[in-house]
């Protein structure tokens, strides 16, 4: 194993990690806002990928161009999911934690079933996209262009999210609601509206990730499952609810995955991620950046 191989895989791990962070950040946002984990997060990613695929297959819209469209569609979808399901789940008086887990799990199963029904279990891919299959060489290291663009999009999205939360009225309402959902009602903020917009925003972010992922990943009904688990690990690693934690967690996960792939057979590369997750939470039970 040469130094070059190591740097090469760490570099691709970093790129992939930023994308993992982007997938996870919507999850972190929703969790921070209302203490709810969306167990259908992977399926949100899956439909975003399908949406990207169909926009490409029917209208020849390149994933790079359809990304904002897909994000907007997912925004609506996320808000609707909040209004139709999550709104009621968080009201449950008995077994609140359970209800919230299983209603979103149920949604995940339905979405997977619908995808199988309408799109068949076949594997699909976006062929001949502008970026697909291209690589660039930076200082002797070859980087796949789709992942590179994905990482740049992720960084831009993190920046935009940061500005959004800190500079806009809605962002401030979001922050206030996550501080104290009861008190914001007193100053005339509609909690439900903020939660719905939070879900929309969280879903839009995963929509953006899905559009980028569609460039270089196969699309099939179960594609969300493994990415969802990585997203949960990413979020928990960073500390639930911390948007910055999701960003940092993503980078760590990407680097750990690349390192594991160097040391263990490829089929075991996820073991490294899971092991690091366990190690971190055993030492810091609230994640790296979660408040203790």
């Amino acid at each position: 194993m040469t130094a070059e191989t190591i740097i090469q895989s760490l570099a691709s791990g970093l790129l992939m990690g930023l994308l993992y962070g982007l997938i996870a950040v919507g999850l972190a946002l929703i969790f921070g806002l209302m203490d709810v984990v969306n167990f259908a997060h992977g399926e949100f990613l899956m439909i975003a990928m399908y949406a990207t695929f169909f926009l490409f297959a029917f209208f020849a819209i390149d994933p790079l161009l359809s990304a904002p469209l897909v994000a907007a569609a997912l925004f609506v979808f996320g808000a609707v999911v909040y209004l139709l399901i999550v709104r009621f789940a968080v009201r449950a008086k008995a077994n609140a934690g359970m209800v919230q887990i299983f209603s979103t799990f149920g949604l995940a199963i339905v979405m997977r079933g619908l995808a199988q029904y309408f799109f068949t279990p076949d594997y699909r891919s976006v062929t001949h996209s502008w970026l697909g299959g291209k690589t660039v060489s930076v200082a002797g290291i070859f980087l796949p262009v789709p992942q590179l663009v994905g990482a740049l999009v992720a960084i831009a999205a993190f920046g935009a999210l940061y500005l959004f939360i800190n500079r806009t009225d809605f962002g401030r309402a979001l922050e206030a609601t996550r501080e104290d959902a009861g008190a914001v009602a007193l100053v005339g903020i509609d909690k439900n509206k903020v939660f719905a917009l939070g879900w929309g925003l969280g879903a839009a972010l995963v929509g953006l990730s899905g559009a980028i992922m569609a460039i270089f990943f196969y699309i099939y009904p179960d594609v969300g499952a493994s990415f969802a688990l990585i997203a949960y690990v990413t979020v928990a690693l960073g500390g639930f609810g911390s948007v910055f934690g999701a960003f940092a967690g993503g980078i760590i996960v990407g680097l750990v995955e690349a390192t594991t792939a160097l040391l263990l057979p490829p089929s075991l590369k996820a073991v490294g991620i899971y092991a690091v997750y366990l190690l971190v939470v055993f030492i810091r039970p609230r994640g790296l950046f979660g408040s203790m």
């Binding site: 949604l107 619908l114 199988q116 073991v271 939470v281 039970p285």
Partner: protein, 326 residues
Amino acid sequence: MDTAFAERRRRDLIVAFVLAAIAAVVPLFVKDVYVQNMMVLTLMWGALSQSWNILSGYCGQISLGHALYFGLGAYTTALLFTKFGVLPWFGMLGGGVISAAIAMALGYPCFRLRGHYFVIATIVIAEIGLLLFHNWDWAGAAMGIEIPVRGDSWLKFQFPRSKLPYFYFALALACVAWFVTWWLEDSKWGYWWRAVKDNPEAAESLGVVVFNSKMGAAAVSAFLVAVGGSFYAQFVYFIDPESVMGFQFSLLMALPAVLGGIGTLWGPLLGAVILIPLTELTRSYVGGSGRGVDLIVYGGLIIAISLARPQGLIGLFSPRRKEPAR
């Protein structure tokens, strides 16, 4: 209050005896193999869910990684039988002991985690187990293990010709899981678990040994689930990592309890009696096309029930357990 509780416990026990007796004669009249198969699965999932309920329902530690113990039970039995010719009965016991030991070893660090951190840790640990078995050549890796059929025998626990022995074993398993739950409900552990579930800090301050009682729940729960896994391996004659340790098994164990009523004595069985036949029927009538209609029905049901009756369907049968009017 105490006498009412004792009264309820006595009635539960009588009801259980009557139901078990009725269940025992049903297959003598219902000869249809498809239906018998469904009954075996219903009892098995009822028993598994009842065992899951001990840790996740009574003690409040929501585990979505119990497929690990199910798989360990199945693999221990299958490996001991195919590699060393050890009878499945010993495999069953061995799998149970191994699972209980692993559950306690994992509990040691995991029980410090709260809420979602704990849930995700259980998923992740089961996933690691799955990946390791996927790559473990001696245990058949991804190809799995075929269990050779050596003819009908209680000794070898194989009955290729009839579903009846499987039915009676599954019934016994469900009875044992139910009885263990019933027994623990009124034990020191049972009270501790409820205290731990409601308010761990308060329980700790009142002298409940929170950690030990969680460990106890984990061990009992894992042991019983492993016995179920061991039974399953003998029932289907073929196991591979995905088919005994996949995430869907963790989910399937939780669902009957969630549907019926989590942390209740009868919830898991009630949930299994409704859910398993429904699953099997939707699978055979609309799922055969492989187009996911069964998933849509199943998932829709989960959403509907968890939103409409968060306390589970068992509440419909016992109005007396409702909150007293104030």
